[in-house]
Structures are given as C-alpha cells and as structure tokens.
C-alpha cells in the first residue's frame, strides 16, 4: 500500500524520499513491519502515534541512523539502501546525510562549542569551507532562527527552546533538501514550545520538504500535507488534514481524541 495519493496539490511531483517494504527488528521485537512511504518535494509529512509505534525508528531510517533489515530507501533519485556495493556503503550513507538534515528530541548540540561554532563546525568539517565563511553563514542561520545575539553563548547557557533553534540552524546550514524532526518539542518546557514551532512553521512556509514526528496535533493539523498514523510498526492510516477531524478509522479517532 502506498500513501502518496493523499498529498496536496501545491507540491510538485518530484520524489524526495521513497521507502518501500521497510522492516526493522530490535532483537525479537519487530519495530517496523513493512512500511511504504513516499515524500514529494515541498511536502510536509507528519507522523504521529503512540510511543513504541515505531515512528522515530521510521524517521531515523530515512537518514540511515537505523539500518533497515529489509526494504529499500531512495532519496532524490538515488537508492541508498540496500547499497550497490558493501565497500562504498558507508561513503554513500555519509553522502546521503549531507542533504538530509535532522533535528533530535534532545537537541544534541555540542556542549563544548558556542552556538555559532555548533552551526559552523559541520560547514568546515563536511563542506570544507573556510572558517571565516562558515562563521558568516552560521551567523546568517542563527539570524534566521532569531538567535543571532546568542551566537557567543554555550548550549548550557541557553534555554531548551533556544537550544532546539540552534539545532535547527545547524541542520539548515548544511542546505538540506529534506529536514527530519524527531519529536522536536517533546523535551521542552511548555512555554518555549511555541518558539520552536514558529521556526518550523516559517521553514514549512519557505517550501522545505519536512518529515515531522510529533505529538503536537494542533501544529500537525496546521502544516501536515500528509498525516501518517502509526501503531505497532505499521501505518494504520494516512491522509490529508481531514484525518484529524473525521477519520474513518476508529483507532485513529481514539488516539487523536486522547492526545488533543
């Protein structure tokens, strides 16, 4: 089953991410039980569902932080898994990650570096641009998330919301074509959730292709072009925003009313 037909008309039809028959087990526990998902350019895909449903694992499969046991992964026209040769596999994975940005639940900023250095480091080490240019670009990115004045601060001196915005700036600095968000607001105090969602909203409006795992149903309802409800390692239902108002699936309805 492919859930592509639900995406809205504003996106062009260029496939950014295509997952086919993805299966993954941790030991005896089957976390993903055959997932098919296609993400088009400019589309905003929201994945929601109870904890343990496999949504984070699915997201992490897209940049191969989790290696699927079965199935194929194609990103922007290139198949990255299974690799064509096991000798080039790790190089291909690194290549894939250069244009798939990721934002983590726990931010994962580098605590020994300032906000600016956090954004500049991958530009220097991965894109191999000079430190001066990298820092200029990093400042530009921090400005975009409204944290330019905090450039010289260390993560420990920033609030959770600010840290997550630095993490978004860090990922954006690499000029990704797809952005993955793994429960970006779940570790935040309620009063700073808004500032992170607002940055994500701007990003969505700018046309970035986004895949977001979230419990923020109101936010999902706002940006979600394709909304995927997962449970027990399977996609139960996927659809447009109407899924939140009038899903035909009783389990989806039950979950949404429980979290709203």
């Amino acid at each position: 089953m492919d859930f592509t037909s639900y995406s809205n008309g504003s996106t062009d039809r260029r496939v950014m991410v295509r997952l086919r028959g993805i299966k993954k087990s941790f030991g005896k526990r089957e976390v993903l039980r055959g997932i098919d998902l296609t993400v088009f350019r400019g589309e905003h895909v929201v994945i929601f569902g109870p904890s343990g449903s496999g949504k984070s694992t699915l997201l992490r499969t897209i940049n191969l932080l989790e290696i699927p046991d079965e199935g194929t992964l194609e990103v922007v026209g290139t198949q990255y898994w299974p690799p064509s040769s096991r000798f080039t596999a790790s190089r291909k994975i690194t290549e894939l990650r250069r244009f798939v940005g990721m934002v983590f639940q726990q931010f994962n900023l580098f605590p020994h570096l300032t906000a600016l250095e956090n954004v500049a480091l991958p530009l220097v080490r991965v894109k191999h641009i000079s430190r001066k240019e990298a820092e200029e670009k990093a400042a530009e990115m921090l400005k975009r998330v409204g944290l330019l004045r905090w450039a010289a601060y260390y993560p420990s001196q920033l609030s959770g919301g600010q840290q997550q915005r630095v993490a978004i700036a860090r990922a954006l600095g690499m000029d990704p074509q797809v952005m993955l968000f793994d429960e970006p607001t779940s570790a935040l105090d309620p009063e700073v959730v808004g500032e992170v969602l607002s940055v994500m909203r701007d990003l969505a409006e700018s046309g970035m292709t986004m895949v977001v795992v979230t419990h923020e149903i109101n936010f999902a309802r706002e940006i979600g072009d394709l909304n995927v409800f997962m449970e027990n390692g399977m996609i139960v239902e996927a659809g447009g925003r109407e899924i939140y108002e009038a899903s035909s699936n009783p389990r989806t309805r039950q979950f949404i009313s429980a979290v709203l």
């Binding site: 932080l65 990650r97 250069r98 798939v100 990721m102 994962n108 580098f110 400042a139």
Partner: protein, 253 residues
Amino acid sequence: MITVLSTIYDWSLIWQYRFDLLSGLEVALEVAAAALVISVVAGVIIALGRMLKPPYSWIPTLYINLFRGVPALVSVIWVYFGWSLVLGINFTVFEAGVIALSLLYSAFLAEIFRSAFLAIPKGQWEAGAALGMGKLTVFFSIILPQAAKIALPNVGSMLIGMVKDTSTFTVIGLLEVVHVTQTIVATTFQPFVLYTAAAGLYVMVAFAFDYIFRGLEKTLSVPPTGSIAKLLTSRKIRRVERIVEKKLAEETI
C-alpha cells in the same frame, strides 16, 4: 632527648645537597613527562581498540589486563635487561624507564579514556553522523574534546603515580631522586634526613600537579572560567561578536 636528636640528625644536609636532589627530581620528571605523552597517545588508541567488536577487542583487552598487573620495578628490569638479552636492543636507562612506564600507564590510561568516551552521550555521535561527518571527524571534533575534560583529573593522578614509580628505576641506575639519595646516604650516613627530603620532594610534586590539573580543568570547563581560559577564548569571542555586529548592522540598513 631533643638535643640528642639534633646532634644525630643533621638537617642541614638537605640544603647542602639540594642541587643533587633537585637534579634527581628533574630526571624523574623528564622520564614521567615523556612517558605521559606516549601513554596518552597509546592509551587513546588502545581504548578505541577495546571498544571495537570482538574479536578485535580481545588484543587490547589482553594488553590492558596484562600490563595493569605488572609492577614498575619488574617492567623496567624486563625492558632494560630482558629486551637487550633476547632482542639485542640496548636502551639507555632513560629510554628503558620511559618505555617501562609507558607500557604500564598506557594500559591504565586506556581504561580511563574508555570510560570517558562511554560517558559521552550516544546522541553526540548521532548528531555528528546526521550532519554528514565521518566517524573520525566526529571523534576528533566532538567526542575527544569532551572526553578529555572528563578524563583530566584521572590523568593527573596517573601522572603523580608515574613520578613515584620512577623511584624503582634506581635498580637500573637511573639518576632519579632515590638513586641520588642513596648516593648521598652512602657518604653521610643520614638516611632518615635524606629520605625525608626525598619523600618531601614527591609530595611537593603531587601538590604541584594537583594545582596544575585543577587549573586545566577549570580552563576546559564550559563556559570557560578562570583567567587563563578567558585569555585563550577572548579572541574567539571578539571575533564572534564582530560577526554578530556586522549581521545586526546589515539588518538595520
């Protein structure tokens, strides 16, 4: 009794032989410093080896368990006499001392570094990987700087241990503190006075290293504290501030 004490124990000998004692200390510090550099580099490599999947981790594990168990005295005799007999390599006493210490302390430091590496959250590796960094880049740019700070106090303790262990190298004739002391005792017959001086030197070194390593730790803390750290990072902070000011100026135009 007190008068007897003062006539028997000639404390002025310490002052009289101060340069000999200090030259012994200098040798001990040189051996320990050279061995520290080698042990830190080797220790990092062995720690990484130990973190590989078995069977690759077996050799580093064996090395660690073997050399942590060997006393310094045995190690130096083994290197200085043993290697020259079996392999025909002749080391100077200084070289033999450095090698003997490096063999032992690279094993200790490997365990210290391993626990420091494991203390870095997995998310740091993942964040680096997700940004397209290779494993080596993540290790050197992200993991090592953080792990170094964690390992630092223990490295300081190890260094104190290394300086103390040089005392056993008197058996191969290294002119370190104990050897120098023995020589002076042989002519002055004042072991209590001179070994007290020797002990005092070791304790002084321990205090000095403790002070230095605490300073280093402070320098490496985030955000940097202490005058040295402020001095080191002030240029960086000014550079960042210039960039920020430039961007803010662009905004207002």
